[in-house]
Each structure stands twice: as structure tokens, then as C-alpha cells.
Amino acid sequence: MLSVILPTLLFASLALAAFGALRRIALWRRGRPAQVDVLGGLLAMPKRYAVDLHHVVARDKYIANTHVATAGGFVLAALLAIVVHGFGLHNRVLGFALLAATALMFTGAVFVYKRRLNPPARLSKGPWMRLPKSLLAFSGSFFLATLPVAGVLPEHFGGWAMAAILGVGVLWGVSELFLGMAWGGPMKHAFAGALHLAWHRRAERFGGGRSTGLKPLDLTDSRTPLGVEKPKDFTWNQLLGFDACVQCGRCEAMCPAFAAGQPLNPKKLIQDMVIGLAGGNDARFAGSPYPGKPLGEHSGNPHQPIVNGLVDADTLWSCTTCRACVEECPMMIEHVDAIVDMRRFLTLEKGATPNKGAEVLDNLIATDNPGGFAPGGRMNWAADLNLKVMADVQQAEVLFWVGDGAFDMRNQRTLRAFVKVLKAAGVDFAVLGLEERDSGDVARRLGDEATFQGLARRNIQALAQYRFTRIVTCDPHSFHVLKNEYAAFGGQYEVRHHSTFIAELIQGGRLNLGQHTGGSVTYHDPCYLGRYNGEYEAPREVLRALGIEVREMQRSGFRSRCCGGGGGAPITDVPGKQRIPDMRMEDIRQTEAELVAVGCPQCTAMLEGVVEPRPAIKDIAELVADALIEAPLRANSVASSKREAAQVNP
């Protein structure tokens, strides 16, 4: 009896799954074309899955082991079941192998079941609560059905009743695991996820690489849409990426905007994109909604504008582009890319950048700085420092990229401290002076690709006139843009954040440093230095050199919480229940440190905006400058030479 039911169920479900898969692929192909290495990607996929994806999943050991057992067991069990039960190859060895695979899968499924008994808020419920039972049904049924094959039980054991129970179990199992995979059930993540890994839009991320710069928009081709209006304006592999989401909610747990009660939840956003690609509404979404936005009021389809149908604009503008979601995503989905793509449409086509956005963009166009300050005042902060200007010296070892912090009185203290350090180390450096412009970071993240490209082109032009070996900057945003985003426009530079550069100076013995005397210190990792560029160690190295033992926050390093200052978020200023910098200051307070070391003008401004009493905020450059010991030897020689000159003069 079973020898008829099992192959029928297996092949019928596989055929239906194949049909569903083709339908799903057709959905993705509604997107715009994208360049991918189709075959190479497929070949690289198993390694990407086993190494890169597992590396992210393994941050949670429980679920990593569970997933290895369940998924590994399932893949083996499915293949063997097709051979053994589908083609009726009743070989004892294969039978035992299938028993082992289903047993492994069953064990994993038990742990999935346990996780689902009292699931954390970040996990989606709904059909996902059914999944462990389906996994148990699949593995259990196939285990029992295989026992006779392995010769453990006699053929036809249990008679009709047993066959009926197993038939139902197998039907349930294959429906969830084969049909559900292609027809939009929870198991879709396996099918779409595998292809997403194969045809990822940032293949450089695999194998330990890093790809964080936003992709440029082709403004010269009038057929290219300016950003994403409708789901079909995404590239097809972006759509595929959305479909890969497993709704684990790790992004939600890390998102600063979600925690602050702003109307953004990265997981929901990705699910909304899935709704957009397949059509429907969000009433059946089984996770946390956007704070303050009830479910069931939004719907969409591939040909309908996303904003104010599927997603509200303030959801998109809540993002600080801190990349915590992307860093956490085990499926390596690119949330920030999608958000910026949609922002581009709002800014470039609709002119709908909220709050101060329009003013900041106008200022950037008219004055090359977001504050609208007179461009001639860019070097006022250094009026008494006698800085060398590139236009005069033409070449220098280091080009010091000042950034727009030049107009901000708080940041000027950091800049002056860093200049003091550079001078103490005897670094040959020069600035661009009035030829420097805003790097374009904030314009780009507000979606104004045109203004960004204009600024980038003019900066690259200015930089091309001079010779220098590297650029050093105190601003991680400029650092990121110069290092990772100018290359697409022909500007390739060696760029260092000032913390990295100071660490090099200290290693080279070029700084004579005393000890820090200002009490206990914690360090706040800027997103654009850490997650965007992987620099976690150099700032800590500098602090250690000052005799500081950093009191790490619970969320530090790659899990550092954003200060709320990135992505133009302070400009668009979407209201929430609390402010992101206040939450970060709470993290800082928990370390009981008296001072927080920062390395970013945005972080400085956001954290100093928290009401007192609170720990003091100092840039790493300021801490180093405070601990500098002016070299006594050199000071003497300068003084003595002066004295001689005085004697000659009557």
C-alpha cells in the first residue's frame, strides 16, 4: 500500500513544487535586469551557505546547531527518500542512511519545537508556529516508513492503519517542505535563500569580504528609473533577496529606530516588499508591526507605488542606515540598499524629503555644506594654525580631509586636537582648504543621488590635482564615502580614519604619550567606521596606549548601537517614543564609565545632545592630544637656536 502512496505523494508534490518554483521565478523576473554571474554564483552557493551564512547564524549557537541538524537532515532525507521511496530502491544501506538522516532531522526539529514553545518577540508566529510540527511529521513519518526498508520491521507492519497514519504524515510533511518551499510557506526561505546566496547583488561580501558602499544610479541614461517607485523597479535579484527572509527578527532586535518606537521594523519592511512582489495586504503578517502602525491597512502589488500604499514614507525616513540589520541578517539581505533606493525616488522624483531635508539639500547644492554656511568660512577654524594648503604645496604625505565638522564649533575642538597630534608627530600633511566640499554622504543617504554625484565629481577633480599618499579624516562618514563610494566615479584613494592613523603613529613611535588621567572610559563604535569598514581595533589600541582599559558596553563592536545620527535621520527627524541617543547613553551609563570616547562628529553631536548629568564625551583625537607630552629635546633645540640669534643681533 505504502509503496504506491509514497511515490505518488513524493512525485506529485515535487511536480507541484517545480511548478510553484517557476511561478516564483516569474515573480522575481518582474524586477529590472541585474548583472550576475549565474553559473559561478550557483557553483559558489554551497560554500556561501556553509561558511558565510553559517558564520552569521553561529552567533546564536542554539539555533545554529538546531539548523545544521534540521536542514542537513532534511536535505539528506529528501534526496534519499526520493531514491528509496520514490524510485522504490529498497536497499538496506540506503534505508539505514535514510533512517539516520530522518533521525537527525527529527532531533533538530525537536529543538525547533522547543524554541517555539515560548518564542521571543522578534520571531514571527503564524505559519512559523506550524513549521516545527511539520518538520516532526516529515521526519517521523519517513523514519517509520523506512524501518521496513532497513529490515528493522517486517514488511507491511501495522497493516492499513499504520499505512494510513504514515500516508497522512508524509502528505503533511511533503506539503510543508516541498510545496510550501515553492508556494510561499515558511520553507520558502530555503529555496529563495539558496538562489539569493547564489545571485547576491554584493557577491564581494562572501569569503570574508566587505561591500558596503551604495551602488550608483545611472543619471545619464534617461530610461533608468530614479530610484524605486514600484516593487518592479527593484532589480530582480533584490526581489529574490526579499523572498529569502526567514523572519528570524534579528534585524528587528538590533534596529535602533524600532527600539526607539519609530515606525520602522526591518523585518516587516522586507515582508512588505514580499507582499509588493507577490501582491496582497499585510493583515497576515505574523510578527511585530511598525510601531504605531496597525496591521491590515497596507497593501500593494508589483505595479503599484510602494509609498503610501504598502509602506508609509516615515517608515523609510526612520532608518539611520546604521546597517545593524544587514550585519545581523543570516540571509545577508540588503535592507539599507532597498531603503535608499526607495528614498531616491521620493527625493529625486517627488521632491518629498521630509522636515529639514529639502533645506539641507538646497544648502548642499548652493554652498557645498549642509548648514548653508558661507563656503569661504570653511577654514576659519584653523585661522591660527598655519595649516599647509594643497594649492600652495601641491604635494604632501597626508591629505587631511577636514569634513563639514569645520563649521561646527564642537567639532572644531576635535579638529584642532587632531592637528596638534599631527604636528607633534611631525607628519607632513596639508588640507584642501576651500577646495574641499561636503563628501556627499548625507545627500546620498537622503536619496539625492544627483547632488551626491555632483559633489563627488568636484571633490575628485580637486583631489586629482595634488599628490599625496593617503587621506586621513576624523569623520567616518567622509571616510566611508571617500574609501568606498568615490571609486565608482574614478576616485580611488587610500583612506584612513584618524583613529587608525593615530594607532599607526603610536606603533611607529612617533608620538610621546603620557597617560589618560580623566577617569574610566568606554568606547562607542561609530557605525560607519565599524560595521561599514570593519575598524574596531585601532580606536581601542589608541585608548590602550593611553593607559585606558575600555569598559565595553554590552552592545559594542559589530553590535554597537547607532547614535541616531546617520542616514540623515536627525534631518528628517521622524518622531518616536524615545530618542536613539538617549538609549545609547543608557548603554553608556550601564558601564559606569565617566567618559565616552567617540570617533565621529555625528556621534559626538548626538551624544552631547543628551541632557546632563551624563558621562562626558570626547573624541579620540582630543584624548590623545590631552595626553601628549611635547618632546623636550626638540623644544630645547628650538629655544637655543632662538637665543643664539638674539645674541648676534646688537
Binding site: 534617461s222 530614479l226 527625493t347 529625486l348 522624483e349 517627488k350 521632491g351 518629498a352 524629503t353 531635508g357 529639502a358 539639500l361 538646497d362 547644492i365 548652493a366 554652498t367 557645498d368 548653508g372 554656511f373 558661507a374 563656503p375 539625492d448 543621488e449 544627483a450 547632488t451
Partner: protein, 256 residues
């Protein structure tokens, strides 16, 4: 509303960088026009058609911008007057003062004079238009509004009391059309003879705060200017009026 509205725009200059941009007040004139008649608004500029800063107006969602092609330094007045006379416009909106060129703020008045139209300064809102009469709100200092009934056609200038202009978006700015019209060219003798120089800010009378308490300061900041010792002269002869003015000028030290 199916009246024909024309907004006049000029090329502005950013106050700190001096870079060409859409003029702040002219953008408000466009915004007001767009709010009144949407896509039917006609926007007009007299000057060079290839000026990129004009695209910032197109970025507000205009399909085209009409340009009366003129070289720099020519007199915009005759060309505008002739065009508007033929255009059958009912309402012409303009900024109060240009940010570049002479920037005298005289253009709307001279234009009104040439066309024989009433001129409303400081237009804040148009409430209704029916039967060739417009009910409009005129902005007065300190947030006060005066309701006016004006027979169309009229010319109105807007200042900061008019609605804030919408953001200029790149896409529509690139797609919009700068439609050039050939017109007769008139030289501007004043601009040809005299040189432009940057204006110096006028000296301001020091404001002495006498208030002792917070309530007094609040009052001083919010109260209507009381005019102090001023007096309203009504129904007096020209001679009496002139004498009063003379007296004031001597008191203020303008005439010694």
C-alpha cells in the same frame, strides 16, 4: 479655478555663496500659483534660456517654463508687459524683490503701471475668485492680514507670508522644458551706465530693552508697534501735512 495665472520668476543668488539658484520669493510665487491652478500655471522668465538655475523651478513639477529670450543686462519690463498683455492672464504673481540684478523691487509696480492693472503687495493667500473679482489676503507686519477685494486682472507680489515653496526634485527638473520665445530686445540704460556694487546693510536703530520682567519682554516682543509719538493726519491741507512731515524730519535729525 479656471483663471489664467502667470508666475514671474528670476534667477536668484544664495545669500552666503552667491551661487545661482531659484529665487526664494519667486519660488513662493510659483508655489502659490501651483496651489491655485495646478498644472495650468504658466511660469515666465525674461532672460537667458540656458540658465541651469531655472531648472530648479521646473523641479517643482512644471512641464515647461516660458523664457522671453534676452541677453544679460537688457530691460525685462517691455518684453514682459507685451507678453502679458497678449497672454490674457488674470493674475500675475511675482516675488517682491529680485536677488540678482538691480533688485530694486520696482518691476511689479512698473509692470502694473504699463498694463494698467492694480498691484497687491505682500499677497498671503487667494481666498476665492468669482466673476472677475478676487478675494485675497494681504500680509501686514506681525502676522496681521487684510482682506482685499480686487478686480481682475491684477498683479500681486509675494513675500515670506506666502506658502513655503515645495522642494525642487531632480527628475522633473531634468525633464521639464525651457521654452524660449523670441522678443524685441530693449537695452537697460541705467544698468549699462552704472556699476553694481554690493549693498551695505543699513544702520539699525539700537533697540534698548527697558523691560524689567519677563512679562514686559514678552509684551515688547509681541505687542503691535504702537508708533510712539506718531500722529494720524486726516483731512488736513497739503501745507499742514508738509509742515508736519518737515517737523518730524528735523526732529529725527534727517534735515538740519
Amino acid at each position: 479655478m479656471s483663471v489664467k495665472i502667470v508666475s514671474l520668476v528670476s534667477v536668484g543668488a544664495h545669500p552666503t555663496s552667491g551661487r545661482a539658484r531659484r529665487a526664494e520669493q519667486d519660488a513662493r510665487a510659483v508655489e502659490l500659483g501651483l496651489q491655485l491652478v495646478g498644472d495650468n500655471l504658466q511660469v515666465l522668465h525674461a532672460g537667458k534660456a540656458e540658465e541651469p538655475a531655472l531648472r530648479a523651478y521646473l523641479g517643482m513639477g512644471l512641464a515647461r517654463l516660458h523664457v522671453l529670450e534676452q541677453p544679460a543686462g537688457s530691460d525685462a519690463l517691455p518684453a514682459l508687459a507685451e507678453y502679458l498683455r497678449d497672454a490674457a492672464a488674470q493674475i500675475v504673481l511675482a516675488g517682491t524683490q529680485a536677488e540678482t540684478g538691480e533688485g530694486s523691487g520696482m518691476l511689479p509696480f512698473l509692470l502694473g503701471e504699463q498694463l494698467g492693472w492694480p498691484v497687491v503687495v505682500g499677497l498671503a493667500a487667494v481666498e476665492s475668485i468669482d466673476g472677475g473679482v478676487a478675494h485675497v489676503l494681504q500680509a501686514l507686519p506681525r502676522g496681521q492680514r487684510r482682506r482685499l477685494k480686487v478686480r481682475l486682472p491684477m498683479l500681486a507680489t509675494v513675500d515670506n507670508a506666502a506658502p513655503t515653496p515645495r522642494q525642487s526634485a531632480y527628475g522633473p527638473a531634468q525633464r521639464g522644458e525651457l521654452q524660449a520665445h523670441e522678443v524685441d530686445i530693449f537695452d537697460d540704460p541705467l544698468l549699462a551706465e552704472s556699476a553694481l556694487q554690493p549693498a551695505k546693510p543699513r544702520p539699525k536703530r539700537l533697540k534698548v530693552i527697558k523691560a524689567k520682567s519677563g512679562a514686559d519682554r514678552m509684551k515688547a516682543a509681541t505687542a503691535k508697534a504702537s508708533g510712539g509719538t506718531g500722529q494720524v493726519l486726516k483731512g488736513v491741507s497739503a501745507r499742514e501735512g508738509a509742515q508736519a512731515v518737515m517737523k518730524l524730519l528735523i526732529e529725527e535729525g534727517v534735515i538740519r
